[in-house]
Amino acid sequence: MAKIIGGLTTSHIPAIGNAIARNKQDDPYWKGFFAGYPPVQKWLDKHKPDVAVVIYNDHGLNFFLDKMPTFAIGAAHEYHNADEGWGLPTMAPYTGDAALSWHIIERMVEDEFDITSCQEILVDHGFTVPMQLFWPDRGPHMPRVIPVSANTVQHPIPTIKRCLDFGKSLGRAIESWPEDIKVVVLGTGGLSHQLDGERAGHINKKFDLMCMDKIVTDPEALTKISRHELIREAGSQGSEFIMWMMMRGALSAKVKKIHQNYSIPISNTGAGTMILENVD
């Protein structure tokens, strides 16, 4: 049977992709941030997951306001990146696992989560930046991928409780897959940041650190946070924390924190990186 080995978190801001493209990893501004990734790469090299389920939010590359799915799951053999409007170089395609995607969709809909299935979905920086950070060389052990996109663009966004429950259902669906494969689940985005309005530049270190603590020890406690409270504390785009909650739900009730890094500010953002290992 498929086994979830653990979850990883990371911010996915486009500035990180730019820093990678310009080899700025050792630049004083970036050094502390990039220092958070070799332990993750080492962990991945040790466990060699076959599949990565990558939970992110589309930022207006694939989805527009004409149709905005709350939860969408990729069900393609291959996923393409594309120009997001800035004319940056695009990434080579990522190999999917369509059979597992459809199994997850079948099981989750049976479990009463109404999923938008996507046989074509362009993946933006929310997806590609984490892949670049965790698998910089795209070597022979590069996992197959399943993108999962949550709506953080337009309110109403899903509640934090719903996101944790989504993750639980996702986890059950993955672990009911009969193949003996190892799966890692990525929760990307966040942490606190606000790009728009007079409050642009709002970041909240205390709140971020509280979230990084509670997501390990007591994720249920975080479901008490309302969406408006999340935005008040973490900023408009701090709502991306819901993807971390989706990841957390897919893990075992108890997890072991293997690694944590936090850099603030990275661009306009509090950037958090974690490895959470499943405990049997």
């Binding site: 930022h59 306001l65 120009d83």
Partner: protein, 121 residues
């Protein structure tokens, strides 16, 4: 009618923050649709060649056109713009998220960066 308008308002009172809800999504639909089109390089070229014609192509209203002409992000948000789509508009003018952060807060880029740095301490 008044009641219906109120029912549409899922506003949250968060200082300096406009919640992009259904009401704003309807208000800003044309503006955001134009910005969404800028994912394509050909669309960006078409816009650069004649911004006014491009505004009309997407049926922007006067408020939206004026905000775009002024390249004023707060005005674009007031006109229904969503920052994820506006980022593509900003890109045409070579403005990144820190540039627009500075613009919206009335700070210089250096002052805005210093503000972020302080918040992280």
């Amino acid at each position: 009618m008044e009641d219906n308008q109120n029912r549409l308002d899922h506003h949250a009172d968060i200082e300096g923050t406009t919640l992009f809800d259904g009401k704003m999504a309807m208000k800003g639909y044309a503006l955001n649709k134009m910005c969404f089109s800028f994912n394509g390089g050909a669309a960006r070229e078409e816009y650069r060649a004649d911004p006014e014609a491009y505004f009309n192509k997407f049926n922007l209203n006067d408020e939206q056109k004026a905000a775009c002409r002024n390249k004023n992000v707060l005005e674009m948000i007031a006109a229904g713009g969503n920052v994820y789509y506006l980022a593509k508009f900003a890109g045409i003018y070579g403005l990144n998220m820190q540039d627009i952060g500075a613009q919206q807060t009335g700070l210089t880029l250096e002052e805005f960066r210093a503000k972020l740095q302080r918040a992280g301490e």
